[in-house]
Each structure stands twice: as structure tokens, then as C-alpha cells.
């Protein structure tokens, strides 16, 4: 099977290597610009004087090879192939005196993009070569034991974590919720009141406990979802703040807690709740 890829591109990929090895090698390109830079380097040509026909040909070979290998060729590669073909055709046209941009080398824009990309590729490599905290060195950091309101983070940052936590709640309640047939009416507004009541009694509550604290009521899916929506609504109204502790790397992690927000917005919450439709 080593001989089944007779293309020049395959040869450059390391000769008679197996198809899957090619696939791995191809994936090292971070997109069409990266592939073009590679071709420019391996052909030892001047980036500002691209032999566009040859580069376009080799580029095309790579893209076909990716197809042959059943790789999912991203649209960006095809777009670039079209751009190269366009430039190539423009290069063949005799410079016309009437054309307004006759002075402009049709390769100019592509060259500018390549150089721009190369700058960032270089600094990206330098960044990766730095001594990274969490990879090469590790910080001695006391965990922010009990997060204080000062360390509260905006909800947007941890929305994913919040949804994850809610999914765990739903999973835990799964069996109970699945066969619920009676149409119990649950209102988000009522759930908001319950949550605010709880937060009036405790300084802060674990997110997942919000769904457990009410005794004597079955934890149905509608109830859980209404409670979750209620929490989101209270956050939107700035009546409740949701936050999470930081792990040793300074990343929010662990228990998500709810706390009643301070200030007038919290006092006005009941008025605001009443307005929720």
C-alpha cells in the first residue's frame, strides 16, 4: 500500500509512508496560509516574487491528496486554491494601459497576507517556547478558600459550568422526572420567590442544593427547569449573584454558590419579580 500514492506531494510527505502517516503530517498545517508558507520554504523561493504557477500546482496536489486520504478538507483550502487560480490567470494577462490597477501585482494582496500570517506564526512559536505556568513551572497558590463577594465573577464566564451543574441535577433527578404525567403547573416567578427566601435564610447556598431544599415536593423536571430559569432570571435582575471558587491555577472550579446581591437591586427584587411575565 506504500506505493499507492505516486504524487509528488506524497513524495514530499516522506516517501513511502502509510496513508495514515500522511494524514497525520497533513494535519500539522494550520490552514491554507500555513501550507503556502511551507511550500514557499521547501521550494526556497522569494515570497515577494512567488512563482505562482508552480506554487498553485503544488498546492493543488496537497489539496487533492487530502481528498484522496478522505480528510475533511476545510472550505478555506478550496477558497485559497481558487484565489491562486485567479492570480495565475491574472499573471497571464498582458498589462493593460487602460486598467486602473495595472501597476498592481496581482500577487500583492496574497503576499501581504502571507507575511502578516508569518509574523503571528513566529510569535506564536515564541509564546509556546516560553516557560509556561501549568506546564513547565507550577505556582504555589493558596486556593481562594471561601470566595468572598469581592471575587465574584460575572455569570457569563461560568455559564457553561452552571449548565453543567444543572445537567447533573437533572441527571440525579432523572428517574423521578421521566414518567411524570400529571401536568403540574410551576411558575418561574414562584420559583424565584422560593430561591430568594432560601437566600434570605442562608448567606450563601450551593447551586445544587437550591433544588433539594424544599421538602415534601417531588423533584419533577418542570420544577427543576423552572427553578433553574428562576435563578437565571434573578441573576439577570442582579438580585442574586452566582460565583465559583478558584482552583490553584486561578480558574473558577468546584462548587458553584448563590448569594443574595447587596444593594438596592436586591431590595427591589420582589417588585422586579412581580414584573416577570
Amino acid at each position: 500500500m506504500n506505493e499507492t500514492f505516486p504524487t509528488a506531494a506524497e513524495a514530499r510527505l516522506g516517501g513511502g509512508v502509510a496513508a495514515n502517516a500522511c494524514a497525520i503530517k497533513l494535519q500539522v498545517f494550520e490552514g491554507p496560509l500555513d501550507l503556502l508558507l511551507h511550500l514557499i520554504r521547501s521550494n526556497e523561493v522569494d515570497v515577494t516574487d512567488l512563482p505562482i504557477a508552480e506554487i498553485a500546482r503544488q498546492y493543488g496536489e496537497y489539496v487533492s491528496l487530502m481528498h484522496e486520504l478522505d480528510l475533511d478538507v476545510a472550505g478555506e483550502y478550496l477558497l485559497m486554491a481558487a484565489t491562486l487560480a485567479w492570480i495565475k490567470s491574472r499573471m497571464l494577462l498582458p498589462p493593460s494601459a487602460e486598467s486602473e490597477d495595472s501597476e498592481l501585482d496581482p500577487r500583492a494582496e496574497l503576499v501581504a497576507r502571507l507575511l502578516e500570517y508569518q509574523r503571528f506564526k513566529e510569535v506564536a512559536e515564541q509564546l509556546g517556547d516560553r516557560t509556561l505556568e501549568g506546564r513547565d513551572v507550577f505556582a504555589a497558590q493558596a486556593p481562594g478558600a471561601e470566595p468572598s463577594p469581592d471575587e465574584e465573577r460575572p455569570l457569563a464566564v461560568s455559564l457553561v459550568a452552571l449548565l453543567d451543574a444543572f445537567r447533573r441535577v437533572l441527571e440525579k433527578a432523572g428517574a423521578k422526572g421521566r414518567h411524570e404525567v400529571t401536568g403540574e403547573l410551576v411558575s418561574v416567578r414562584e420559583r424565584m420567590r422560593v430561591v430568594m427566601d432560601m437566600l434570605g435564610r442562608f448567606e450563601s447556598i450551593e447551586f445544587e442544593r437550591i433544588f433539594e431544599l424544599e421538602l415534601g415536593r417531588p423533584l419533577t423536571r418542570p420544577l427543576l427547569i423552572a427553578t433553574f430559569l428562576g435563578v437565571l432570571e434573578l441573576v439577570r435582575l442582579a438580585a442574586v449573584r452566582v460565583y465559583q471558587g478558584l482552583d490553584e491555577a486561578g480558574v473558577p472550579r468546584g462548587t458553584i454558590r448563590l448569594r443574595r446581591a447587596e444593594g438596592p437591586s436586591a431590595d427591589d427584587w420582589s417588585a422586579a419579580v412581580a414584573e416577570v411575565t
Binding site: R107, E116, F120, V123, A124, R130, V137, G250
Partner: protein, 210 residues
């Protein structure tokens, strides 16, 4: 309080702080300590660790001081932290680089530089708190703007954004011997023809071609 006692408190604070602690913060906490003296004490502590051959050292990152293990122990610490190692792909590093130098920047602007979609990469960088949303650009569609975080400075061991390696100038990337030398600037007061500027190719600073 004598200087040695102050130094030990500074040591305790740098060790016990949940994030890099600044000289100003140290001065605020330690009785009778000025910020520049705090910085001097930190330097002394660093020298002590060096002399004693400790496994850790003091870094100045994200505007503060932090105790970190020395790089030669990385392989052991990686075994300890096996469950969530820091891995930054080339895609992540390139995206971070564009965000870092161009911030605040939209996703489309990052994609224009890299020539690939960056949606998933940005989401992962947001999750890892290396990038944050820094508002919206007030253009149709109000695209989100992205910027780097304090955590970014910490991970890459940067004191501040200005410590980033310099981005090479476009000219430096061109072959050394250009056939044309740049035209000398017109003498002051000379009438610059605005039509010339209008003829420049495109709005982007394209490199000179020959």
C-alpha cells in the same frame, strides 16, 4: 519591626496569596514597609532560595510576585497534575498571539490573519480564561471583541502586555536586498499630492513589490 521579620512576612504573603501579589499590596499589609523596600525584600528572598538550592523561585508575573517550582521539576509536577495538563495547540497559540497583539479584536479579524475559522479555538481559550470578552464593536452585528486576561500573563510568565516579544516589522520579513530603496520623504512644506495616496493599493499596508 525589624527587617528580617518583615522579610518573613513578605515570604508568607507571597507563598499564601491566591494570585500574584504586588509590591504595593505587600507594603499595604506589612507594617512600616514601603513598596520599593518590599520589592527589595522579594529580591533578597529570591537570592536566598537560589543559594539554598530550593526547588522553587520567585517570579514577577501579571504585576505581582509568585512562588513557582523550578523548571527542572516539571516532569514530576506534570505527573501530579495529570488530570488537567496545560496543552496549547498551535491553533490556540496562533489565535492567542493575534488576540494579544491586536486586542481588542473581533473573531473575523483573527480569522482574516490566520486564514481559518477560529470559533472553536476562541471558545476553548475563553473557557481556559486566557481570553475574555471585552465588549462589542459598534458596527452592524455588534461583533464581540476579545482581549487577553490576567491569567494569560500568568501562564506565559509576563509582567505586563508590553513584555510580549516584539512582533517583527513587515519589512524585516522581506528579503534583505530590495531592488528599490524607499523614496525619501518629501521635504517639509512640499505639497503632497493627495491623488498619490489615493492610488495606493487597497486600504491595507501592502508590502512593497518589485
Amino acid at each position: 519591626m525589624d527587617r528580617d521579620a518583615q522579610k518573613r512576612i513578605v515570604e508568607a504573603l507571597v507563598l499564601g496569596a491566591p494570585e500574584p501579589v504586588s509590591a504595593a499590596k505587600l507594603a499595604e499589609v506589612v507594617p512600616g514597609l514601603e513598596a520599593d523596600e518590599a520589592a527589595a525584600l522579594v529580591t533578597e528572598l529570591g537570592r536566598e532560595y537560589e543559594e539554598q538550592g530550593r526547588a522553587f523561585e520567585i517570579w514577577e508575573v501579571a504585576g505581582g510576585y509568585q512562588l513557582r517550582t523550578r523548571p527542572e521539576y516539571a516532569s514530576y509536577l506534570r505527573l501530579l497534575h495529570r488530570e488537567r495538563p496545560l496543552r496549547l495547540s498551535r491553533a490556540a497559540l496562533e489565535t492567542l498571539a493575534v488576540v494579544a497583539y491586536r486586542q481588542p479584536v473581533t473573531r473575523a479579524e483573527v480569522e482574516a490573519v490566520r486564514g481559518v475559522e477560529v470559533d472553536a479555538v476562541i471558545r476553548s481559550l475563553l473557557e481556559r480564561q486566557l481570553v475574555r470578552v471585552a465588549g462589542h464593536r459598534e458596527v452592524p452585528g455588534r461583533p464581540m471583541l476579545y482581549a487577553t486576561t490576567k491569567r494569560f500573563l500568568e501562564v506565559f510568565g509576563l509582567g505586563e502586555l508590553e513584555d510580549l516579544p516584539t512582533l517583527r516589522e513587515m519589512e524585516q520579513l522581506l528579503p534583505p536586498a530590495l531592488p528599490e530603496t524607499a523614496a525619501p520623504p518629501p521635504p517639509l512644506g512640499a505639497s503632497a499630492d493627495p491623488a498619490d495616496a489615493a492610488d495606493e493599493p487597497g486600504a491595507e499596508p501592502a508590502p512593497e513589490l518589485h
